[in-house]
């Protein structure tokens, strides 16, 4: 009697088995981040929407949840990975031609169709620009929106991500405004945290959706600023970061009150987070 029987052919595949992706391109834009463009062996996983994430891993190091930074239907997966732990540090050592392993896509992303026709204000802090890029690209590609404004705050000029793409976005009608936290030699743009870009905005609060992506500390202040501009909680969308081990709604790490971030999120309307005191 074997205790190590393999599942029968009819049983579903293990949801923990990752699928291989070849690294087509690996770039290091900043000291902390690295960009990867991946070609997956299994084309099914290309079917993702902005705001969703993959569990990205390496054998021997484990997995970490990473949001998608490429637009949908681009035929590849692009990730922007910041080295903050064992998994991401190990991934940073990979180069073009190496293999990265992913499971997903997981979670509820942005409903781009449902947002059509609205004015959009994108507010990104730090690495929040990575998932925001996916959404901005999807919005540009679809078209049929009102005014598009991107507010992006980085610590310093050397930490700005996707800086070379903003001109292209501006050409497509996105008003891109960038600020850095502290003055820096040669920097002629805005200085101050990203929330300082909100008050001068001319917002038609009846037809505006705001999308906020960034580190946990960002949310409270940005939400406060947006509410002051008359934007209702129902019209604010944000994405929550949590520890995750499975992406399947089982391991319990990403649970906030009643919700599993990996299932009902990571994208939420602010109004949905009412009654979830642990959310932000």
């Amino acid at each position: 009697m074997s205790l190590y029987a393999n599942p029968t052919k009819s049983s579903p595949p293990s949801p923990y088995l990752p699928s291989a992706c070849r690294i087509e391109e690996a770039l290091r834009p900043t000291a902390k981040e690295k960009f990867f463009r991946l070609a997956p062996h299994d084309p099914h996983i290309l079917n993702y929407s902005p705001g969703q994430f993959f569990m990205v891993g390496l054998p021997g190091y484990g997995e970490a949840p990473i949001s998608i930074t490429s637009g949908p239907d681009e035929g590849c997966i692009e990730l922007c990975i910041r080295a903050v732990g064992n998994v991401t540090n190990a991934i940073h050592r990979l180069e073009k031609g190496d293999t990265l392993w992913v499971r997903g896509p997981f979670g509820r992303g942005f409903d781009v169709e449902g947002m059509a026709g609205k004015d959009l204000v994108f507010v990104a802090g730090g690495i929040g620009i990575a998932p925001m890029r996916s959404l901005v690209k999807a919005v540009i590609k679809r078209g049929g929106f009102g005014r598009l404004t991107l507010l992006y705050g980085a610590k310093g000029p050397e930490e700005i991500l996707y800086g070379d793409e903003f001109e292209g976005w501006r050409a497509k009608g996105v008003d891109v405004r960038i600020t850095i936290d502290r003055p820096s030699p040669g920097w002629k743009g805005y200085v101050g945290v990203v929330t300082t870009l909100i008050p001068p905005l001319d917002i038609d609060e009846g037809r505006t959706l705001a999308v906020v992506l960034g580190p946990p500390v960002l949310y409270k202040f940005v939400i406060w600023g947006l509410r002051h501009k008359g934007i209702k909680d129902d019209d604010m969308l944000l994405s929550l970061e949590r520890r995750m081990k499975c992406g399947l709604g089982k391991c319990g790490h990403c649970q906030i009150n009643c919700v599993y971030v990996c299932q009902e999120g990571p994208v939420f309307r602010l109004s949905e987070l009412k009654g979830l005191p642990e959310a932000i």
Partner: protein
């Protein structure tokens, strides 16, 4: 697979029973693999050659003489990475029991008429003298944890130290709680990683791995009293492994 570098490592013994070095030597099957990845230049329990050229220093034992203070300082100067090996090195260990008495009394009790020639200072963990980069806890250390640390070191992962109490390991091992059996232990405030072997083999947790990062010592003091220990008994229970640091 990328090639990992093969760093030079040295093992040193201070005031201890050298049981932690033996715990490493008893990882017999893994030793050839380990030696492929690190070059051992100093290991008193296993080899006679010595070298002062090393990157990683494993230090076992607590510091209990002026001479040891000087020696451990020298090792720190030479090594890039210092690992405290076992309870004596990480918490001071059982050696700290002597700190409960005046040093002159300790010398007289242990060495009798020769006491005058003995140099001793209160025993202490090595990080009270030098900076320590990583701690392998336990009396002795667990071979399993040593191997995991070795893998982390060579593969470039930051080593993980369990930050939960022995109760977790104990429940996972399927043990009946020692308090149910009418005994006392300090497992609820002690760092796990030992698989609760003491309890599994019928004893209690003595606290050899030191406190977890955020121990609820007050709660445990109350628990020990509630189960019948006197205040003195409680203090001794919590202090057995000496310099238990918060």
């Amino acid at each position: 697979m990328r090639d990992f570098e093969r760093p030079k490592a040295a093992f040193f013994s201070f005031t201890s029973c050298e049981g932690c070095q033996l715990a490493i030597l008893s990882c017999e099957e893994a030793l050839p693999e380990i030696l492929k990845r690190i070059e051992v230049v100093n290991f008193r329990e296993a080899m006679s050659e010595r070298s002062d050229d090393y990157k990683i220093a494993f230090i076992e034992g607590s510091v209990s003489t002026e001479e040891e203070i000087a020696r451990v300082t020298k090792i720190r100067e030479r090594a890039d990475f210092v690992v405290a090996l076992g309870a004596c090195a990480t918490t001071g260990g059982l050696n700290c029991l002597k700190n409960r008495f005046p040093m002159d009394d300790v010398k007289r009790i242990v060495y009798g008429k020769d006491a005058g020639q003995i140099e001793t200072v209160p025993a202490r963990p090595i990080d009270s003298v030098i900076k320590v980069d990583y701690r392998l806890h336990g009396c002795p250390i667990s071979g399993k944890e040593f191997l995991a640390f070795f893998a982390d070191l060579v593969m470039g992962r930051s080593p993980r130290t369990p930050n939960y109490p022995v109760c977790v390991d104990c429940k996972m091992a399927g043990n009946i709680c020692v308090f149910e059996k009418g005994m006392y232990c300090v497992g609820p405030v002690t760092r796990a990683g030992c698989d609760a072997i003491c309890v599994t083999y019928g004893s209690v947790c003595w606290g050899c791995r030191g406190y977890v990062d955020d121990p609820n010592v007050n709660a445990h003091r109350e628990t020990l009293k509630r189960y019948g220990l006197t205040a003195k008994g409680v203090a001794q229970k919590l202090d057995l492994y000496g310099g238990k640091k918060q």
